[in-house]
Symmetry: C2
Subunit: 366 residues, 2 copies
């Protein structure tokens, strides 16, 4: 069952990696290096395009010294086999989300997203100036034989889709809800029957009534998934995934074979892609939200303060419990929680207060 959790958001079906295992390790052609990259995401859509652009960037910047052939989910291996493919030497690079690999590491989920944790700007501050990349490498990725770089962020997600209104914690009791990760574990403690389903099974399950609701990503991706056809209550904000990280990871031998020049190119291309993916999600979500509300009858609803407070308190317990799983998980948790403490303070009086002033203001636009 654990394995199925990995299907979250990839929206792909698993394909065995066996057939691909005969591929060569880093190919060399006339002194140029050729990598295979495998993705947890489908070719269509924002994340498929982002990986292709990354590969194109690297080829352009390196004048073809490093070319990366991309295989989207299901093209070479199943989306959730991406880490397996890199570990087995089938691919030199993978692209996904850290919590897809939590079956292999009990600390790696902390790199992905923490309920009530960091927003995207704070998360990037931790990665680039809080020692986050080094810490994630040392505690989570290097033990799996790979080098990690952040390569995208979804920004704040939506809370999810519900058949009925959810106003109090009592409304959660007995609910059948699809939600992976730490957020799902929190809801379980309120009596929610948490279900884990791959992307392509969610809409059928909603339609048959097998589940009463689901969370997914945000308006743009959710519109495409079509959940509005069955359930109409769309809640915000995404307390469970305030800013979900997308990861790139590299076979350690392939990484170490890069000279400074190519390593610099891969690092900067990953950082650019990180910024571009977040910018793209930010750019497209509102138009999709408007389409959902104005053309498809979706009811946009805020979680009540009571619910957010109760969930937050329970989150504190569940996350601390998960952090005690291993010394690695504890160390990551402690670093993130200390970072979060100061970030909440600063972001609250700057970005947070500014956004409040901007939305509460009676003047319509500047």
């Amino acid at each position: 069952m654990k394995r199925r959790e990995f299907f979250k958001k990839a929206g792909v079906s698993a394909v065995g990696a066996a057939g691909a295992a005969t591929l060569a390790t880093p190919a060399l052609s006339q002194g140029n290096m050729e990598w295979v990259a495998v993705s947890a995401f489908g070719k269509a859509g924002l994340l498929g395009a982002a990986l292709d652009k990354f590969a194109e960037d690297v080829a352009t910047m390196s004048e073809g010294k490093l070319t990366i052939k991309t295989y989207h989910a299901g093209e070479l291996v199943g989306g959730l086999e991406a880490l397996d493919a890199v570990q087995s030497g089938t691919a030199q690079m993978g692209f996904g989300a850290p919590y897809y690999w939590e079956g292999k590491s009990d600390s790696i989920s902390f790199v992905a997203a923490m309920p009530y944790g960091l927003n995207a700007q704070e998360q990037n501050a931790w990665f680039y100036y809080g020692g986050g990349i080094e810490m994630a490498d040392r505690l989570s990725y290097n033990p799996l034989g790979v080098k990690f770089l952040p390569m995208g962020n979804t920004g704040n997600q939506m809370g999810g889709w519900y058949a009925k209104e959810i106003n109090t914690v009592d409304d959660l009791d007995g609910l059948k809800f699809r939600m992976p990760g730490l957020g799902g574990e929190v809801l379980k403690t309120f009596g929610v029957n948490v279900v884990l389903l791959p992307g392509n099974e969610v809409l059928p399950a909603l339609t048959s009534g097998a589940i009463d609701g689901t969370e997914w990503i945000g308006p743009a991706a959710d519109l495409g998934a079509g959940f509005f056809k069955v359930v109409q209550n769309y809640y915000y904000p995404g307390w469970h995934e305030p800013a979900t990280v997308l990861d790139s990871f590299f076979d350690m031998q392939a990484w170490e074979a890069l000279d400074d020049h190519l390593r610099g190119i891969v690092e900067r291309a990953a950082a650019s892609t990180n910024l571009w993916i977040l910018s793209r999600f930010q750019a497209v979500n509102n138009a999709s939200l408007q389409k959902l509300v104005n053309e498809n009858g979706v009811q946009l609803r805020p979680y009540s303060d009571e619910l957010l407070q109760a969930i937050g308190e329970r989150t504190a317990e569940v996350v601390r419990d998960r952090a005690s799983a291993s010394p690695e998980a504890s160390e990551l948790y402690n670093s993130l929680i200390e970072w979060r403490r100061t970030m909440v303070e600063w972001s609250g009086i700057s970005e947070g207060k500014f956004m409040n002033a901007r939305t509460s203001a009676k003047f319509e636009a500047i």
Copy 2:
């Protein structure tokens, strides 16, 4: 007087560009290209380090095919002569902030920051996926003979330092306050005597009582500037500069002489630097804020809702008026205001609502 406004935040003294005009245009050495870059910012500090890292990145990624010799403010030309130096061919690249060049373009300030406008994430979404880079180039930068790329963001700034408490609009009347740009124009309409001073003259002016207050950047930069030694009321949030853009600009001939490979490297290095500078500001501000409050007796105060609402209404008038200055300014304003409309909506229910829930929650930490 206009000219002095450009000194904002550069904290440098002007040095004539004449002595430097004898420098060669793009140097070529054994087929490699050598650029000169001039900066509006001093060598010491976050932005000086960021430009040096950018140059190092480009050299590494290009294997030395493009090297960039950086001159920080005052080293070759005065900080606010950076655009002049690129226009005259003294340098191939400049680094600064768009509103430093508003004497040369009546639309360029809109690229920098708009009071009550976009936050950093929304601003980047506009640049990379809202046509922002192309539009800024076409309307503001290309007419000046240069190519533009965003290369940093300060994030939300602080509202400023005041000798006395500011609670109502009446408290603004007669105040002598240092503030450049559109924010200053808004305060003028409330009877504020807006003063424009270069960075190195602000602390002396506060000390002598020539001014009653000043805005600057954020806690890290403000701590270094030492304003707390004289005035102790530190207001938030920075309604006037919600996310100030830093710009890089390139002599058009030098830019067009780059092949796809080098152009790709410069573009990705600029995007990485954009993300890294914002991350760095986010990472360091809170520790400085704590130092100001806990070690230096600074009173951290929120602007009142009444004040924020009144300023917002006045901002709408002032900004619209400025936008009518030229067809270019109007086009930029209209694009930004339309972008802002949808961004406020989406950010408000995602990031905004999430940050509210996180700060208002009684649970201390997850």
